[in-house]
């Protein structure tokens, strides 16, 4: 509306309708309101998402398994998009290590890959002979190589009891 009035005065060749300070105040207020409304929208979407995930979790108490697309690879974590729920999140391998599921990780920054050594026996038909450089017994671990754009499974654990409600993603050992 401010812009409409400004244009109107301008077309009538009048002197400036608003002072610099007034426009400054107006633009600050517009920004504050707009960002606040966007934040409110995001919070509302998040609330409904976690409520929905919690409902699904009733029949799957350990968490919800879902397909995820890798959107970033770090040295101790990787980023994913879970297309089914529209979730974008970081998955920390530390969490899997704390649970005793993962023995260790190795990062290959040059190739953009992350190797995850799971505490389960390797598959009989492991296609790739993986070099273990962290002193682990290859017969006692299954190695997962995570790279950009890979498709893998993650476990989503929702928590409605926290404020704000949240969810956490965990890595899942490959079959």
């Amino acid at each position: 509306m401010v812009v409409h009035r400004t244009l109107d005065s301008c077309l009538r060749l009048e002197a400036e309708p608003f002072s610099t300070d007034a426009i400054n105040a107006a633009s600050k207020q517009c920004n504050v309101r707009k960002f606040a409304s966007r934040d409110a929208q995001d919070a509302s979407q998040n609330l409904f998402l976690v409520a929905y995930l919690s409902k699904l979790q009733e029949s799957s108490p350990d968490g919800i398994l879902a397909e995820a697309w890798v959107n970033g690879v770090g040295s101790r974590a990787f980023d994913v998009l879970v297309p089914k729920f529209g979730i974008q999140s970081r998955v920390w391998l530390e969490d899997s290590m704390d649970l005793g599921q993962v023995a260790g990780v190795e990062a290959d920054a040059e190739k953009g890959k992350l190797k995850v050594h799971w505490n389960i026996s390797p598959r009989e038909d492991d296609l790739e002979k993986v070099e273990r450089t962290v002193g682990l017994d290859p017969n006692r671990h299954r190695t997962q190589i995570i790279g950009m754009f890979d498709n893998l499974e993650v476990l989503i654990v929702a928590n409605m009891k926290q404020s704000p409600p949240s969810y956490k993603l965990f890595a899942v050992a490959p079959k």
Partner: protein, 104 residues
């Protein structure tokens, strides 16, 4: 756009405009490097060239993921007063225009 031009010429110190600062060069370069490893070449010389190189990614999954990566590095568009801000920062990156405001 036309409105933005008209009012900022008439009232250069007190026009309510909207701008979108370009993404940080460092953040953008990191994404370009990451994607280059996967065989994806992005032309970041302008918003337009960036859009074209994104559209050129054939695999729909890779295209979506690449866009998401870039969005993370973007800044938010904001309203500002023409008299209070350096004129070199007036432009709107995503729309690729030098001057802009909300009118409708």
């Amino acid at each position: 756009m036309a409105v933005a031009k008209k009012i900022s010429i008439a009232y250069p110190e007190s026009s309510l405009l909207r701008r979108h600062p370009p993404p940080l060069v460092k953040a953008l370069d990191e994404v370009v490097e990451q994607l280059a490893k996967e065989g994806i070449k992005l032309d970041v010389s302008s918003a337009g060239s960036l859009q074209s190189s994104l559209d050129a990614i054939e695999d729909p999954q890779k295209q979506m993921l690449s866009r998401l990566l870039l969005i993370k590095g973007m800044k938010r568009a904001e309203y500002f007063c023409s008299g209070s801000v350096d004129i070199s920062t007036f432009s709107h990156y995503a729309l690729s225009v030098p001057l802009y405001t909300h009118f409708t």
